[in-house]
């Protein structure tokens, strides 16, 4: 009975906390300081400002932030000027009310065909995910991942990849509940000597591998070998993955939500919608293997990455 009361109380606290958390997209370099501070606190790997800028300037639409409005509820209830400010938040300079909010979570990603095995399509990549320690167990990490993944699906990614420490059980649970699978183990991947798992959320089957049953029978059909052709022999894959990027995920244990295990909501249904990457939208999305932000110059010369 006591347990049940406590559980209800916890749920109430969580839901009230949830109501106070706002999720926004990355909008300004002015947010960078807070992002860096949060990630530096949370992750084992040290990153320079260039690493942050590489992601944030290249793929600002794949960075999402979770803020907590410290006095949002009281002001909103009073119906004061703050509500109006909140309503038009998208078009306003957010710094006006920065002092009322604290960054409690951030996810940083990218989408290009760098990690794609066959370089045929866009591959999403989650580079950093950090949640403030005192705000864990509120599903913030889950929501941030959902938003980033949804955006990656929108722009036509075939898969989403990331690396996480094998010892970071909380992060692994969080990702696995979102449908990520451990694709590979990377021994001594991090600077602290800990192994990593490369996790992948596969969003579609590779066209080449969609089984046409071209005369072949599976073992369970035949029990033995039989005729058929397969033209996959010449496909080359490099066996050794380079450790180009050593990126970490700072979700400590129990960042995963405490709610019902099915975390999908409506969003996962979208993800499962088998969005196909066509040649047309690939061309519009990538240039020389890089995702090009609509507001970024495509010029080959050194270009400015404009602040949005």
């Amino acid at each position: 009975m006591l347990e049940s009361i406590q559980h209800n109380r916890e749920q109430k606290n969580e839901s009230s906390l949830e109501a106070r958390i706002k999720y926004v997209g990355y909008s300004s370099e002015k947010q960078l300081g807070a992002i860096m501070a949060l990630v530096d606190r949370d992750l084992s790997e040290p990153y320079s400002i260039f690493t942050y800028r590489y992601f944030l300037c290249g793929w600002p639409d794949l960075c999402f932030l979770a803020y907590i409005d410290d006095d949002a509820s009281s002001k909103a209830v009073a119906g004061d000027q703050y509500s109006l400010k909140k309503a038009s938040a998208e078009s306003m300079d957010r710094d006006e009310y920065n002092e009322h909010r604290t960054l409690v979570g951030v996810i940083v990603g990218k989408a290009d065909n760098e990690g794609s095995q066959d370089s045929k399509g866009l591959c999403g990549y989650i580079a950093m995910l950090a949640v403030e320690t005192s705000y864990r167990r509120a599903g913030i990490g889950r929501k941030l991942v959902s938003r980033a993944v949804a955006r990656m699906v929108e722009i036509g990614c075939q898969e989403v990849a990331l690396e996480a420490e094998v010892t970071n059980i909380g992060a692994l649970h969080l990702y696995e509940r979102q449908g990520f699978a451990r694709e590979e183990r990377l021994l001594k991947y991090y600077l602290n000597g800990v192994d990593a798992f490369r996790l992948k959320l596969w969003l579609k089957m590779e066209d080449d591998f969609i089984m046409p049953h071209d005369g072949r029978q599976s073992m369970h059909e035949s029990g033995q070998c039989c005729g058929g052709k397969n033209d996959q022999h010449n496909e080359q894959r490099h066996p050794h993955g380079d450790k180009k990027a050593v990126l970490a995920h700072g979700i400590e244990a129990n960042d995963s939500p405490t709610g019902p295990p099915n975390c999908s909501g409506g969003r996962e249904e979208d993800i499962d919608g088998n969005i196909m990457v066509t040649r047309q939208n690939l061309t519009s999305l990538s240039l020389e293997g890089r995702h090009v932000h609509p507001q970024r110059s495509d010029a080959v010369e050194p270009s400015r990455w404009q602040e949005r």
Binding site: L191, S218, E235
Partner: protein, 870 residues
């Protein structure tokens, strides 16, 4: 700021010194900067993630070396006496012990800058100072200090003649310094020796080892003989002191320059002297071992094997002596690399190599404790010892050939079994490199330096049941050559670490796919050449398919070992594994039956031939024209050569019998393989049936994976098999079809769980049978492995029984709600019988089972951990 006028440069007027005009562009830069908003960046499209992560941020203490406190050079420390050269016995003992721990950090994967060279004595300036003190005059180690001093001189450091042995000091006061110098040289030579083994094999990855010497001096210009001579000299000096110390206990010792601690006799000094002697003996043994490793050639047969075995044993014995000698002080006196504690802190500094590391990523370095260091060294030697078993085929070959006249000792099957066991033990990079180096000589087509690979392969194919007429037919020769290359690569793959093994298998499947295609063509050609029907068994294809299945099995099992599969997908993974193992066993059985048939035919033919001979002999003896030749002349070698060359005259299987006896190198090996496969199949089948049963019993998984997502995941999990033509890639639909079929067949009655338990029970019987064979072969490791498989089966059985009991309890409590709509999840509850419990009706959603995987019993066989939840 300034820039060179581009026009002038383009016109070829020269560089900065000839016509190029320097222009101040500071104002331009300020102007440009003013036009940028906060955070706006100028960057090149070539600014990749790699550049971003490699970029330095000035004034950030994490990256900017100039903000860190400068580190005093080794030379400066020597000059002001902070790094003593004239050390006491106790100090020498502590430094040497701890240097071993730092050396071991290199074997564990740290770079030399982050391990051995954090000790100050292996640095050039210290070596030079020690040499000067001890009168070691020949060595041409670098004389500079600091970063430059640590770099090796170009061209090997000058003179490289032998050391002047007579010039070495005999002053007892210098013995600890001489000991230190000898150990430093010995350690550098050891590291260089193992490094050579690693580099020669070239299979290391970043996570295995960092053999880059980074220009550091590794005593390359010092002959091993000289290094051993120094070690022996120092040992002699210490032994003399050992004798003296026991006579003068409690007498104050030597003092020099006020720097050296007063040396006191007593048990402490005896222990230190003994420890140093043991260290020196160990180092001598190591250098001898490395010499043997470098000169090892398996073709030398028994001689090479024995020499290595002796050298290893000597090193292991010597290591055991150190452990005993330093046992009391090792744990207490361990010096952290920070250099803040311990009596020899002066000899270690984590910052000393900072300048050389530059902006390289700062890895967290774990220096093992001394007890751990001894353990690592012992493991390293034991791992090297394990490789001997591969070369022992050679040794046994000689012995057995003399004793029995057979060549039973070597077979590809047995070599593979050895390699599987070797890889399963996850040996270190040095042992893996050493074995890799001698396993297959690609240019010579030799296995273990003496067995022609193609021949071994042909023998193996005949051994598993392929007719000699097929193996030796002209149509098969091209296939055999390609197959030998692919299989050699597969053997070598077992020398990589497990994560890399799995990745490399993905490439191997592509080669195997090509081989399957080639096998089909060769089989068709063979049929055409011998006018055989289309229904004739495609022998080569069957064989290569079995090879493919072997590697597919490894791929999945390595996935388990690397902890890649979540419990939610274990059911489909185990189902796939079960299918693969079933087909593999089917093929092996088919090949075995063929072999038996061929053997029968061979015997009949031989009997007929000898009967003819006897008749002929009788006739001849009657007529007095006998040749007097004994039976069975020619021996196996002759038969083998005959078989390998092949005549191409064979006409079908009957002719194959005439081509010579079927080579049957190792019945035990094949029997062992079949038993192992059967056990794994039962475990896989039991596993997926159990998961099916538990899934049904609980109604749904704790995490719902939509079918579309599950199908995509399934596809990606097994897409590595796509290049293989046989067996064809299975899909999620296949998996679902089996499920649906089971449901139709009444699995609702809990048959899955019952069958799972039966599978686990059957494992026990097979393990007992396998253990008997292993006992016969005196294969202790194999026995342990089998027993671990039995443990996994028992654990799974227990987990199932417990889960059933808990679920039944839940069903009994909620039994009266059967058939009603569940208010929580809207699922219509189904009426089922409790798993394995006749007649009891339970309601599933009342309780559900959450399953996780554990690998406590066997690294590749999951044990189900079932938690029944409300």
């Amino acid at each position: 700021m300034a820039s060179v006028n581009e026009d002038e440069v383009d016109e070829g007027t020269g560089g900065s010194g000839s016509g190029a005009a320097w222009t101040d562009i500071t104002s331009d830069c300020r102007l440009a900067a003013a036009s940028l908003d906060t955070g706006e960046m100028i960057c090149s499209p070539a600014f990749s993630l790699f550049e971003a992560m490699s970029a330095l941020e000035l004034m950030d203490p994490k990256m900017d070396e100039s903000l860190l406190e400068p580190v005093e050079s080794v030379q400066s420390r020597l000059a002001r006496g902070a790094l003593p050269v004239q050390v006491s016995v106790a100090q020498a003992a502590r430094v040497v012990e701890n240097m071993l721990a730092f050396e071991v950090a290199w074997y564990q994967g740290a770079s030399l800058l982050d391990s051995l060279f954090l000790c100050l004595y292996p640095h050039g300036a210290s070596i030079h100072a020690l040499c000067s003190l001890c009168g070691v005059t020949r060595t041409s180690e670098p004389h500079e200090s600091g970063a430059e001093g640590m770099r090796r001189k170009s061209g090997g450091g000058g003179a490289a003649g032998p050391i002047v042995r007579d010039a070495i000091t005999s002053d007892p006061a210098c013995t600890p310094a001489l000991t230190l110098l000898a150990v430093v040289f010995g350690t550098l030579k050891t590291v260089a020796g193992f490094r050579k083994v690693i580099l020669d094999a070239d299979i290391y990855e970043e996570e295995d080892a960092q053999p880059n010497s980074l220009g550091l001096y590794l005593a390359e210009n010092l002959e091993t003989d000289d290094a051993i001579f120094l070690l022996k000299e120092a040992r002699e000096g210490l032994r003399l002191q050992e004798g003296g110390s026991s006579q003068n206990k409690g007498v104050a010792g030597h003092e020099e320059g006020g720097e050296m601690e007063e040396r006191k006799g007593g048990p402490g000094e005896d222990r230190d002297l003994a420890s140093l002697v043991a260290q020196l003996t160990f180092r001598i043994a190591l250098l001898n071992l490395i010499d043997v490793l470098h000169s090892f050639h398996p073709s030398q047969g028994a001689k090479a094997g024995h020499a290595m075995r002796d050298a290893l044993q000597e090193a292991i014995d010597a290591l055991g002596t150190i452990k005993e000698g330093g046992k009391e002080t090792v744990e207490e006196e361990k010096v952290e690399a920070s250099g803040e504690s311990g009596s020899v802190a002066f000899a270690f500094d984590r910052g000393i190599t900072r300048a050389l590391k530059g902006n390289a990523p700062r890895r967290v370095i774990h220096i093992p404790s001394l007890s751990q260091a001894f353990l690592v060294y012992r493991t390293l030697l034991d791992d090297l010892g394990k490789t001997l078993a591969a070369f022992a085929f050679d040794v046994n070959f000689e012995v057995e050939k003399e004793a029995t006249g057979t060549e039973r000792a070597f077979s590809l099957q047995r070599l593979r079994m050895f390699l599987d066991a070797f890889a399963a033990a996850s040996p270190g990079i040095i042992a893996r490199s050493f074995l890799h180096q001698h396993l297959v000589k690609e240019d010579e087509d030799l296995l273990l330096g003496r067995f022609p690979f193609s021949l071994a392969l042909a023998e193996h194919m005949q051994g598993v049941g392929l007719p000699v007429s097929v193996v030796c037919s002209p149509q098969s020769q091209a296939f055999l050559l390609t197959a030998a290359k692919t299989l050699a690569e597969a053997l070598r793959n077992l020398c990589h670490n497990k994560a890399r093994q799995r990745t490399r298998l993905e490439v191997l499947f592509q080669d195997l796919g090509v081989l399957e295609e080639q096998a089909e063509i060769s089989d068709a050609d063979f049929r055409a050449a011998h006018q055989l029907s289309e229904n004739t068994t495609p022998f080569l294809l069957q064989w290569i398919m079995e090879e493919a299945l072997r590697h597919m099995q490894s791929y999945i099992q390595l996935g388990f070992e690397l902890d890649l599969y979540a419990a939610t997908e274990a059911e489909e993974i185990l189902w796939y594994l079960d299918c693969l193992l079933s087909v593999r066993l089917q093929i092996l059985t088919s090949l075995e039956n063929q072999r038996i048939e061929l053997e029968k035919l061979r015997r009949q033919t031989t009997a007929a031939a000898s009967s003819d001979k006897e008749k002929q002999g009788k006739k001849e003896s009657k007529s007095g024209t006998g040749t007097g030749k004994g039976r069975g002349g020619g021996g196996k070698k002759k038969q083998k050569n005959k078989g390998a060359k092949g005549t191409g005259e064979n006409k079908g299987e009957e002719v194959a019998v005439e081509g010579g006896p079927t080579i049957r190198p190792d019945d035990d090996a094949l029997a062992e393989t079949q038993i192992a496969l059967s056990i794994h199949r039962l475990l896989a089948r039991g596993g997926h049936l159990a998961l099916t049963g538990l899934g049904r019993a609980r109604g749904s998984w704790p995490i719902e994976i939509p079918r579309a997502r599950a199908a995509i995941r399934f596809h990606h999990r097994f897409k590595a098999f796509a290049p293989l033509r046989y067996p064809a890639l299975m899909t999620y639909d296949d998996f679902q079809a089996v499920h649906d079929q089971r449901r139709e067949e009444g699995d609702e009655e809990g048959a899955s769980l019952t069958n799972a338990k039966e599978c686990f029970k059957a494992v026990k019987t097979l393990v007992e049978h396998g253990v008997r064979i292993k006992s016969h072969l005196q294969d202790e490791e194999g026995k342990v492995n089998l027993k671990n498989l039995a443990r996994a089966a028992i654990s799974n059985s227990v987990a199932l029984v417990q889960a059933e009991a808990s679920l039944r309890e839940g069903g009994e409590k909620g039994g009266n709600r059967i058939g009603k709509e569940d208010s929580r999840n809207g699922l219509k509850k189904e009426e089922i019988r409790g798993a394995g419990v006749e007649g009891k009706e339970i309601e599933r959603p009342r309780k559900h089972a959450e399953v996780t995987l554990s690998f406590v019993a066997h690294p590749q066989v999951p044990v189900l951990v079932v938690k029944v939840m409300e």
